[in-house]
């Protein structure tokens, strides 16, 4: 078990929700739902890099994730955990962000392999994103240049403990501090970068609209959306080139 290096990311300090603000029934429901959330996790392993090969052995007879209540799922809609395994190139990061936004909260991101921690082996490559947590709120890092299945399972079990305690709500940060994330994304992909899911409107809908949700980055995006009238049905057609070739700084 030596090489299990679960690390605590720094920029995911959640704004601690004081426990006693809600009434007793609310608390009971929350604890029970966290209890269930911990026990049943659906994993979407987005095989971005080489770490994905560690997951099949985690699911089959030797390590058997199912006994922890974890099932592999095919589409982001049905998944709770997004496993980013291995280096994330800029092109793949766009798809990863789109997939992340298509997932339903409470959702968790686990960065397996050290490439997601600090760039790993490809640290000095111009094409890879070095720190995943700048673009997505990452719950758990499992370092190792391909951690063994035991490491993955331990990491998952630790995440389950966090969920049970109700602390694993870094997904809310994506809404609450959307400006920070958008800024980093625009830094990479250019100012007109956006995905079909309207994060701000969803933040308002789920009452996760914090102070930091909007800032100058989102302002630029909103101005762009209004200017190009993206609500119309044929917007994606007009945006066809801009989506893939975005990124002029």
């Amino acid at each position: 078990m030596k090489d299990v290096i679960p690390i605590q990311t720094n920029n995911t300090e959640t704004i601690a929700v004081s426990k006693n603000s809600k009434n007793i029934y609310q608390q009971a429901i929350d604890t029970f739902s966290n209890f269930c959330r911990a026990r049943s996790l659906f994993v979407l392993h987005y095989c971005t890099g080489c770490g994905a090969i560690e997951l099949p052995p985690a699911m089959t007879s030797r390590f058997d994730m199912e006994r922890l209540g974890i099932q592999p799922m095919v589409t982001p809609r049905q998944a709770d955990i997004l496993l980013i395994t291995g280096y994330v190139s800029i092109k793949t990061l766009k798809r990863v962000i789109l997939t992340y936004e298509q997932m339903q909260g409470p959702k968790y991101v686990i960065g397996i392999c050290s490439c997601t921690v600090n760039g790993g082996m490809y640290w000095q490559s111009y094409a890879t994103a070095k720190v995943l947590s700048e673009y997505l709120p990452v719950d758990m890092y499992i370092a190792g240049c391909m951690p063994r299945p035991e490491a993955v399972l331990t990491g998952l079990q630790q995440l389950m403990k966090k969920i049970e305690k109700g602390e694993a709500n870094s997904w809310e940060n994506y809404f609450k501090r959307y400006d920070y994330y958008l800024g980093n994304q625009q830094h990479l992909f250019g100012d007109t970068w956006h995905t079909p899911t309207d994060i701000l409107e969803e933040a308002r809908h789920y009452h996760l609209y914090g102070a930091e949700s909007t800032g100058n980055n989102t302002a630029r995006l909103i101005k762009y959306t209004v200017e190009h009238d993206l609500t119309k049905l044929d917007a994606p057609l007009r945006e066809k080139d801009s989506m893939t070739k975005r990124g002029k700084k």
């Binding site: 290096i5 679960p6 690390i7 605590q8 990311t9 720094n10 920029n11 800029i90 092109k91 766009k94 921690v117 600090n118 760039g119 640290w123 000095q124 490559s125 111009y126 094409a127 994103a129 070095k130 720190v131 947590s133 700048e134 370092a143 830094h187 990479l188 992909f189 893939t244 070739k245 975005r246 990124g247 002029k248 700084k249």
Partner: protein, 187 residues
């Protein structure tokens, strides 16, 4: 024994082929040939004569496959290496040419060898060498990259990475315990 007998067959037709190869190579005056071993030839040819050589090799000497085009950045000029392979003689001919650094432009051999289109595109993306006449001269891999050609020596990736990305502190709990006991990470 079958294997040897097969070897015998290739030996004598190898001989006849090399004769044809020699005749061709001697036809073009502005190139010098260097035989690496009995299956590798290195040919240095002038940039203008390359298409002629390629069509000759393809037409008469049975070099049906252009395996790859590689590019070397000598900072003052580019060197393009065309690796040609013949299935009969099993001999690899790599034709080396030198083209000027700026403007990094050369003629495409797409009409002789169609696979050249892919190799030329990669070189165009990675080194910025533009091949006229090739139908595939647009970004394919580095669609998100808008900076200079990344493989050039003039491009300093480390500097780009440092100012483009930032790093995160790597303070795992277990490392704290070891440091408490006096250990440290050997960098």
């Amino acid at each position: 024994m079958v294997w040897d007998q097969d070897k015998e067959a290739t030996k004598d037709n190898y001989a006849s082929q090399t004769i044809v190869l020699d005749q061709i190579l001697h036809e073009l005056d502005t190139l010098n040939i260097e035989q690496k071993n009995n299956q590798r030839f290195r040919v240095d040819v002038s940039a203008e004569a390359l298409p002629a050589l390629l069509s000759l090799l393809k037409g008469r000497a049975g070099y049906t496959q252009l395996s790859a085009i590689s590019c070397v950045d000598w900072e003052d000029e580019f060197e393009l290496v065309y690796h040609l392979w013949s299935y009969e003689t099993k001999v690899l001919v790599s034709a080396h040419i030198r083209i000027q650094y700026t403007p990094a432009v050369y003629v495409s051999v797409y009409d002789i060898y169609t696979p050249a289109g892919f190799f030329e595109r990669d070189i165009y993306e990675m080194y910025g060498v533009y091949f006229e006449g090739s139908p595939m001269m647009e970004k394919f891999i580095l669609t998100e990259w808008h900076g200079p050609a990344p493989m050039l020596k003039s491009f300093d990736t480390l500097k780009y990475v440092n100012d483009m990305f930032n790093w995160q502190e790597y303070q795992p709990d277990w490392l704290k315990e070891i440091q408490a006991k006096g250990g440290k990470v050997v960098s």
